[in-house]
């Protein structure tokens, strides 16, 4: 009897949830345009992109917009459920963040426009779906040229990266670009975050700096690399502001918020009638150099030399310790 009652109550709970209509009940919200944002994993960078997207799209459109933000917590099945749910909620536009999330959305959604933010897929995929893309990557060549301008005598760098799909072509490009500049790029891959400690401890004794491209997994464990960089007085060079705030010396990159802004501009164009396929892939051009003077001092590096080269390249300089542009 007890078992029967427990089953009954659980099934009742499930039926209750099944009958629950999770579409907004407020009539005002129902009139609004619905935009579904899918975040693959919990990370401050994702929150910044989302904030930039929401702020800009609300400002760009005359119509009121409601955002359905779904966080998949790194679970493929959950992410699939969320996309299905957004489909049923009749959202007008999908904004998946990251390449993998965009791939899944493009595979499942064919009748509504998609803006893949911080994502890059082949043109053949775009031709088959209503997909526009905002690529957030800066080319490794640009980063290595900037490093070479600051440190013309350096000949060996250690490049730490995870086995993320976006990383592989970038790593190859970094090695080639380094070779062209006379810099030997030592590749150090991690498959899981705990690998980072071993990798950090086993860098070549000849290395003259540690380089990290835009990589969420390595960024999560940046403290491990900061410790090694401080101990060995090596510059820790990254590609996003968050890692510099957490102890890296400097980075050439774009603000995560700005990626969301660019995504929202594309979304606004689509919602105003431009077919997604007609919008070229948006690439980030407004580059900044994020510096952390305290960290640079601990790594025994010259802040002035970095600022001088940043100014020469017309990059905006952002001191992350006081959060304002110094130039």
């Amino acid at each position: 009897m007890k078992q029967f009652l427990t089953y009954l109550s659980l099934i009742a709970l499930l039926l209750l949830s099944a009958c629950h209509d999770n579409r907004p009940t407020d009539p005002e919200t129902q009139k609004n345009l619905q935009v579904g944002i899918i975040i693959p994993i919990e990370h401050p960078a994702m929150d910044e992109i989302t904030r930039g997207f929401e702020d800009t799209l609300s400002a760009e459109l005359k119509q009121k917009v409601s955002f359905q933000v779904m966080r998949a917590q790194g679970d493929m099945n959950l992410q699939r459920s969320m996309i299905l749910q957004l489909q049923n909620q009749k959202v007008g536009l999908f904004a998946p963040i990251s390449t993998q999330t965009t791939e899944m959305t493009a595979s499942m959604v064919h009748d509504r426009p998609i803006v893949g933010v911080a994502a890059l897929l082949p043109d053949s995929v775009r031709a088959k779906s209503k997909l526009a893309l905002v690529d957030d990557e800066i080319t490794p060549t640009q980063i290595l040229q900037f490093i070479h301008a600051i440190y013309p005598k350096k000949t060996q760098l250690s490049l730490v990266y995870s086995n993320n799909d976006k990383m592989i072509p970038q790593i190859n490009e970094a090695v080639s670009a380094g070779a062209a500049l006379g810099i030997q790029v030592e590749k150090r891959m991690i498959t899981t975050l705990p690998d980072l400690y071993s990798v950090a401890q086993s860098l070549s004794p000849q290395t003259e700096g540690i380089l990290v491209l835009k990589d969420v997994q390595v960024a999560s464990g940046i403290a491990t690399l900061v410790k090694v960089a401080d101990e060995k007085h090596l510059p820790l060079i990254t590609s996003d502001d968050g890692t510099v705030e957490n102890g890296a010396g400097f980075a050439l990159g774009v603000k995560e918020y700005q990626i969301g802004v660019e995504g929202a501009k594309v979304a606004a164009k689509i919602l105003q009638g431009t077919p997604p396929q007609d919008i070229p892939v948006v690439r980030m051009t407004n580059l900044s150099v994020f510096i952390n003077p305290t960290a640079l001092k601990a790594q025994d590096q010259d802040t002035a030399a970095i600022e001088k080269e940043a100014a020469a390249h017309h990059y905006k300089i952002v001191d992350v310790t006081n959060k304002k542009a110094v130039e």
Binding site: S17, Q73, S81, E103
Partner: protein
């Protein structure tokens, strides 16, 4: 309600072979085979790599199944002679498969959005045709698996799980049975991986994480719901299969239901775990009372 049922059905469908594989290892062979986390990705990876290289999707699918079976056979090989504990052997295989999968795929993610697959033509025609073709393939796998379970080999596998030492003393080829059992369950996991990759549009090195645990949880749930009502022994194999279907469908029904209640995804696994624990607790109490 219809949307929820449809979401549950489409999500469960692709994981039915995985549920059958886990049912084989967990219920019949009485072993928790963690290899499945790796062989799920291996199936997806082999399929994606071969179709990307221009091979026929049918050939790629068969190759994915063969590779899954080989992965399972390797786990059985580690166990043979009692050298490595089944759980540890599975964990070791899964660990090794991470590197194998990277080598097979050549990169962590292979995009299948523009590559011809087993179902791409049907999905171009319409979603209904697409899902019907998926259901047809799943039905063929289920019928083949059920036939194996009902055959002499299936009965031997069940006897192996019940009492392997006794079987060995009676002169049965226990080593071969272990290889067959683990090979078959990983073949099914690889089939599920290959089908999932075609539906979600990519194969990814991280897509197998937690699949074994989801499968075991779903199967336990299904068995505690279905098996108490089945008392005839000759219905055992069929009822176990139905329990696996019900379990996996219930898992996705609960997952989608909780999402519809707008529950923060951070708490989803906690809630799913608590629900599972409630089911298990009532079932254990019933078993105690009847004994």
């Amino acid at each position: 309600m219809f949307a929820l049922l449809l979401a549950t059905l489409t999500q469960s469908l692709t994981l039915i072979p995985l549920a059958l594989g886990i049912n084989l290892s967990y219920t019949i062979l009485r072993a928790t085979d963690m290899t499945i986390d790796g062989s799920f990705v291996l199936g997806a990876g082999v399929f994606a790599q071969l179709v990307t290289l221009g091979f026929s999707p049918y050939l790629a699918f068969v190759a994915a199944l063969v590779c899954g079976a080989l992965a399972g056979s390797f786990t059985a090989f580690l166990q043979n002679g009692g050298k490595v504990d089944p759980l540890l052997a599975g964990i070791l295989s899964s660990f090794i498969l991470y590197s194998v999968n990277m080598v097979v795929m050549g990169r962590p993610n292979i995009n299948l959005l523009t590559t011809p697959t087993l179902f791409s033509a049907a999905f171009v025609h319409s979603s209904v045709w697409g899902w019907l073709s998926v259901a047809l393939l799943i039905a063929m796998i289920v019928i083949a698996f059920y036939s194996v379970l009902q055959s002499r080999v299936g009965l031997s596998l069940r006897a192996f799980g019940d009492n392997a030492p006794l079987l060995a003393r009676q002169g049965y080829p226990v080593t071969r049975l272990r290889v067959m059992g683990f090979g078959l369950n990983n073949l099914l996991a690889a089939a599920s991986g290959a089908i999932t990759a075609q539906i979600i549009g990519y194969a990814d090195i991280g897509m197998g994480v937690g699949m074994t645990l989801i499968g075991i949880g779903a199967i336990v749930l299904g068995q505690h719901l279905i098996l108490p009502f089945i008392h005839r022994h000759y219905l055992r194999a069929g009822s176990e299969l139905i329990a696996a279907f019900v379990g996996i469908a219930l898992y996705f029904f609960i997952l989608n239901g909780l999402l519809r209640l707008n529950i923060n995804p951070i708490y989803l696994k906690l809630l799913l775990g608590v629900l599972l624990a409630l089911f298990l607790r009532t079932a254990t109490q019933k078993a105690r009372l009847s004994s």
